[in-house]
Each structure stands twice: as structure tokens, then as C-alpha cells.
Amino acid sequence: MTPHLRENFRFQAASDQSLLVYFGEKISIETHRRIVRFLKLLEAKRLNALQNIHPAYCSVLVKFDALKFTHSEIESLLTPYLARLEDVKLSEPRVRKIPVCYGGEFGPDIVEVASLRKIAVEEVIRLHSSAEYTVYFLGFVPGFAYLGGLPEQLTTPRLDVPQKKVPAGSVAIGGGQTGVYPVSTPGGWRLIGQTPLKLFRPDAQEQSFLAIGDEVRFEPITKEKFAELAEA
């Protein structure tokens, strides 16, 4: 590997059949774009050795057939892709709007988020709904988008004990991250609101409302509007 690459990437075995490629150690739009470029290269020229790919903020986890390949062989196969990232051109992001009813029964943790950050609940809503977010990746559960761009004032630690059941559509904050739970699932983030949109439809042509690289905005709505949209 060239010294240039060595500075920009780090390989780490995750299990006996998977490998993590780290593109950076901090969440940033630059790191995200390099990951999107990497995925585009893999799309254009498939690597049959890879059985599954999990992009995230700063890393991509690849699963491989451990009966046929070792970690170092996979590293050698990936290195030419990593060397060509700057050749890839990215298109303009698609903009997606997500209506959210903040607080109350829909966002039971918003009061605690406000008190942890020593700001008013209204300020939590204003900050969360005025920012522009980027879908850094889909992960955790089907259609769950991890969004970059959470205002620093809203950073709040995850729950010590994950909740056993978070309702579908919940909008949540975990550490410096925010996202929407598309399906009901256990979860360790703090719930600040809920969207009536179905972000994951197993029977639809486009199963996930959001895709990696999308730009997202949250629009505050009332309970009445929530009920109206939920019925639609």
C-alpha cells in the first residue's frame, strides 16, 4: 500500500469472516463522500469475494467467505478501489422532507434532552427542524437512516439500557446522531418526536424512503396534522 493510502485508511478485522475499513476517525461530510465513492466503485465493478457490505459514518464493514479468503487477501482486493476514490464524480443530492410531531406522547424524552442541554423544549424543536441533514448511511434496521448535521447543542448521551420497544416512526437523538426508526424495534436513543410517514415498505418498489447521500429536512407538524397524514 502506498504511504498516501496508509494515511487515509485503516483495516481492522471485525470477526473471522468480516473486515472493517475505516475512512476516518470522525464524522464528517468529506469522510461520508469518500465512502459513497467507494460504494459507487464497488457497484461499477463488483467484487465477488464480498458477500455483504455495511457502510457507516466512517467505515465500511465487508463480509467475505472465510472458507476461500483471508483478511489480508481481502485487503489486497480492496486496495485498488481505495486508490481510485478521487476519480468518482458525485451527483447533486435528492431532497427529502419528513413531517414530525415533536414532544408529548410522540417524543417522551424531549423534556430530558432539553434539561440535559439546559435549553427550552421549543429550542430543541427549533434547532432540530432548522438544520439540513445528510443521509450518511442506512443501517441498524431496514430503512433506518443515520443523519449527519445534528446541531452540536442537541448532542445527548444514549440511554444506559436500550428500550425494548421503540414505536415505528420515532425521531430520536443518540450522542451526536439523529435518525428515524422505520420499524418498531429495541433502541438506545432518546425519542423527541414521531413522523406519520412510513419510511420502510417491504412491498414497495422503492422499499426505503431514504437512500445514502439524500438531503433531509424535518418539518414540525401538529397532532391533528399527524393524525391526518397517518390516515392517508
Binding site: 470477526s15 468480516s18 455483504n52 463480509k63 439500557v161 417491504p202
Partner: protein, 313 residues
Amino acid sequence: MGTLLVNKPGSLTTVQDLGRPGFGAMGISPSGAADPVSLRIGNRLVGNSENAAALEMTLLGGEFQFSEDALIAVTGSDFGATADGAGLALNAAASVRANQSVKFGPTKSGARCYLCVQGGITVPQLSGSRSTHLLSGLGGHEGRALKKGDILPIGDVSRSVRQRKISPKLWSELAPRKMLRVTEGPQWPNFSDSMKQRFLAQKYAITEEANRMGIRLQGDTLDMSLTGEMISEGVSLGAIQMPPSGQPIILFVEQQTTGGYPKIANVIAADLASVGQLRPRDEIRFELVTMEAARKLFLKQETILASSELIEE
């Protein structure tokens, strides 16, 4: 074409094959049989391809009827299987007649039992697999666990197979383990020496929260206050993540695809089928092995599974 009728579904019965890899970037884990070793053995016993779909039962089995004579194999844990009251041996092919009642009861050993049938369960494929992904409602029979009255199609039988059973000697090498071998997880260096020692020395009990997504363990709490938070990243099958509670969670076949808790270790590929047989109150331990040792154990398991001596006529 024959069918299988569900008279009683049992506590959680789903259609599973070897899973649907390749959708990690959408947040969808591969799903598939929780104990793929048992599924593969069952399919070999009835002359199917190893990836044919079968029924996976959990803790309490169901009652089923075939519309036509069928060759079946029951594998995995002992759920006291019978056909019209006569016992069905585990890990052996058996003929059942049309409309006989094939019944399963509560488990006498581990968490999961497989009912494989010659021709396989031929629900429609979704992206190349018939596996049910319960969390997302994808695949299998209508994306859900089976209910009373469900009727499932069975594939056409193209060839006859003699009665077969598993070699007891080779089976003993594949049998589920309670000492799970692990490799270092990606955040292993973030844990202190004393935390690593305690993790490897202590017994962990399986809690009631054990399902296809993950298995929560209960042991002496590790103090996670100094380990810090990390940026969410892709997590592999069998990852052992340590949330701030200090009680580990093993991520399983319907796992979350990414997560933000540090992973202290990862169950090796050869021991993942054993995880599928863990049930609440079982006690397990972890044994640390190198990547090279893990690879050898995986190759050895695959050699046994592919061996012609595994199946005795």
C-alpha cells in the same frame, strides 16, 4: 404439487433457508436459519440442496399435515416429534403418509428444531431467498411467523432417496457447544485487562430476551464508565457488544446491521449454529482463539458437513 398445512404453529415457527445476504447497505440483515448446521443436515437427509427452505420451530413446536406422502427429516433440538403418535427419530429421514399428524412438543434440549421435507418449502423467493425476516416483514410466508390454517407449497420431488441417518461419530463433532469460541472484537483494545479477564473467566446466563435479533446475557456487570462512546459502524454476525449496562448482547441472524456499542469479541463462524440452540437460563462461557484458529475450525466444520460419511444409508 403437495402442500403442508399448519394445524398448530407452535410458539414461533418461520420458513427459513440459509439467508439473504447482500442487503446490508439497506440495513437488512441476511436472516436465515438460526442453526444452519441443522438445516443443512436435514436437507441432506431428504436429498434436497442444502439451501432448501424448511420450518424453524422455537422452544415449542407445532402440528402439521402433508397433503401427500412425504419424506421428512427432523433436526436440531429434540422437540419430541411424532407422526400419528409414533416417535420420529432426530437426524434421520422418515416417510410420513398423506394427512398423518406430525406433532412437536416443548423442547427437551436446545432452542430450535427443523422440519425439512423432500422438495423443500417453496414459498416465493424474494431476492434469491425464502427466509423470513420478521423485523422487516420480508420473505418467507407473508413475511411473518406461521399461523393456524396456513398452507405452504412443497417442491416437486424429482428423485427417490433411501432412508438415511446421520453418523453419530461425525455428529458429535457438530453438536451445539456451551463453550463458545470467540475472536477479538474490533474494540477489544478499548477494554481494560481486568475487563477482558472477567469477560473470559465468568459464566454468562442466557436471559429471556433471546431471539433471532440478538441474545442478552446476564453475568457480573463490567464497569463500562471508562470505555466511552463510539461512532456507529457495521457489526458482524455473532458480534458481542457491550452496552453501558455492562451486560453483553450477542448479535444474531436478524441482527441490526450497524451499532454504536463497543464489541469486545465475536463468536467464530464455526460456533454460530451453537448460538441458535441457546435458550433462556442456559449457561455459557467464552474462549478466546486467534483468527487463524477460527479459520481452521470453520474449515474443519465445513469438511465434516460436506463429507459423504456424514450421511449413512
